[in-house]
């Protein structure tokens, strides 16, 4: 997926890989082939405030997509809608072709997530948490799978330790073990490396890259660490005021908008989204 040309979105111009209105008529087989996640025309309104405004995008299998934007841009709102804990005002979410509204269970069975603000219950041990969530996700051969993810995330030594007494890095590893327990086809990560030291952060990024490379899962990742986004993501989408403003390869996108680094581009999106939008439109025209 690397090498996408940066595209403007949210102003009537569809980015590559982003479905237009015709997408909603695709059948399950077609959408399953098309993407781990297909989001089309997604809106969320809180009273008069439009938190997410007509967002459409896709996450392909084996692809890591970064969802970037300043605080309040709508990243977590989108993640929450894809997780099924927030009902969209309008739009459609398909997870491997399974509509999240009409086939909630089959869609969520293919999904999992880890977020810095959603630690696992601290009063259960690592093994107990993984067993309970493994049963919730109906993971087959659960005992063996728990051993596998514990080994993978270097948690065997913490099997009978309560999660609440683990360090931030260890808790993040437990959350990721839970998030990969059901070998999800769509993994949602909301700032998974926030508050981690650089060494642990690097380890976690490596694990996520391995996850995306080995299985058939796609990853939707939010982060404020542009260094890690550039290192990990195949493609990024910049959100501003609930709309996708830019989309492309994190390594080439800054140059396309005359910025030195991805962080500079991030700051520009946060401070002057309108000028970037017009710049993008000029580039397109």
């Amino acid at each position: 997926m690397r090498g996408h040309r940066g595209q403007l979105n949210g102003k009537g111009l569809a980015a590559p890989g982003v479905n237009g209105p015709g997408m909603s008529s695709m059948n399950a087989d077609e959408t399953s082939k098309a993407g781990a996640l297909v989001v089309s025309g997604l809106c969320k309104r809180y009273g008069d405030r439009l938190a997410v405004d007509d967002v459409s995008f896709e996450v392909h299998p084996n692809e890591i997509v970064g969802l970037l934007g300043p605080n309040g841009a709508g990243k977590t709102t989108i993640i929450n809608m894809v997780l099924g804990v927030l009902t969209p005002t309008r739009g459609r979410i398909l997870i491997e072709g399974h509509d999240l509204i009409s086939h909630r269970v089959s869609a969520l069975e293919r999904t999992n997530f880890a977020a810095v603000y959603a630690p696992l219950p601290g009063n259960l041990t690592v093994a107990q948490n993984l067993r309970v969530f493994g049963m919730l996700y109906d993971v087959p051969d659960l005992g063996a799978r728990i051993d596998e993810v514990m080994r993978s995330y270097d948690l065997l030594g913490f099997r009978d330790t309560r999660c609440g007494v683990l360090s931030s890095g260890e808790q993040t590893r437990v959350c990721l073990a839970k998030a990969t327990l059901n070998a999800p086809h769509l993994l949602l990560l909301d700032e998974p490396t926030a508050s981690l030291d650089p060494a642990t952060g690097r380890e976690i990024r490596q694990k996520i890259r391995e996850f995306a490379a080995q299985g058939t899962g796609g990853v939707l990742w939010t982060s404020h660490n542009m260094y890690e986004v550039e290192e990990v993501c195949d493609r990024v989408m910049f959100l501003s005021h609930g709309r996708i403003l830019l989309e492309g390869d994190p390594r080439s996108l800054p140059r396309e908008y005359n910025k030195a680094t991805l962080e500079d581009l991030f700051v520009a999106v946060a401070r002057e989204p309108l000028s970037l939008a017009s710049q993008g439109e000029d580039g397109q025209l």
Binding site: G47, T76, T87, N123
Partner: protein, 267 residues
Amino acid sequence: MNPRRVRAVVLRQFYLMRGSFSRILPVFVWIAVDMVLWGYLTRYLNAVAGARYNFVPALLGAVLLWDFLTRCVHGVTTTFLEDVWSRNFLNVFSSPLSVSEYVLGLVCSSVLTSTIGLCAMLVLASSLFGLSFAQFGLRLVPFVLVLFLFGIALGIFGCALVMRYGPAAEWFVWPIPPLVSPFAGVFYPVAVLPSWMRGISIVLPPSYVFESMRTILAGRSVSWSVLGASTLLALLYVLAAGWVFRYVHHRARETGLIARYSAENAG
């Protein structure tokens, strides 16, 4: 309905109780205190009243059955509150667990804890104060069933309140059984209540249980149809409470309250 997901909710509660003295103790302590307190009170009343009336089955029996209902309410709500206390809503409700599976898991957890509580109360009350339910015969089955169903309904309704009004609404849950008890005629006949309170008693299934209990102790017979109707009424309360919980959960997903639960109000 996936039974494995229901078992996961129960297993979580089992893990928590197994490893926590502070969770196991309340299952036994409060009922033991109630049995001892009311047991000696009934013994004293028996001494004062002489052989004219036996207060043990009338008062201690009523306390025991009402405590069972309270255990059922708390069995459901504490399992739910564990998710509130550990801020686990996002993890739980983003899983494939359906609302029905979750609620059934709460109910099954309550069955386990309330049964343990009931057994402990029976052992205490019978060994220390000679309480026996033998005179109620098979009618004890609908008595227990009605109280169980109504306790479950109150528990689910309490969970809906906490989900709607946030973690602080936990304080709505604990007083629910004491609030209902004056109307249910636990310790006195419904006939002594003023008419407006009797109007409420009529729609409370436990009031039929305690009225029937006193009727049997007075040597009169109780119609099975009354007990059947009160069981159906209690079942209706369970269905209504389930509907309320489902509605509140649906609204919480619409407003974003589940995702921002600690804010207590999505508005």
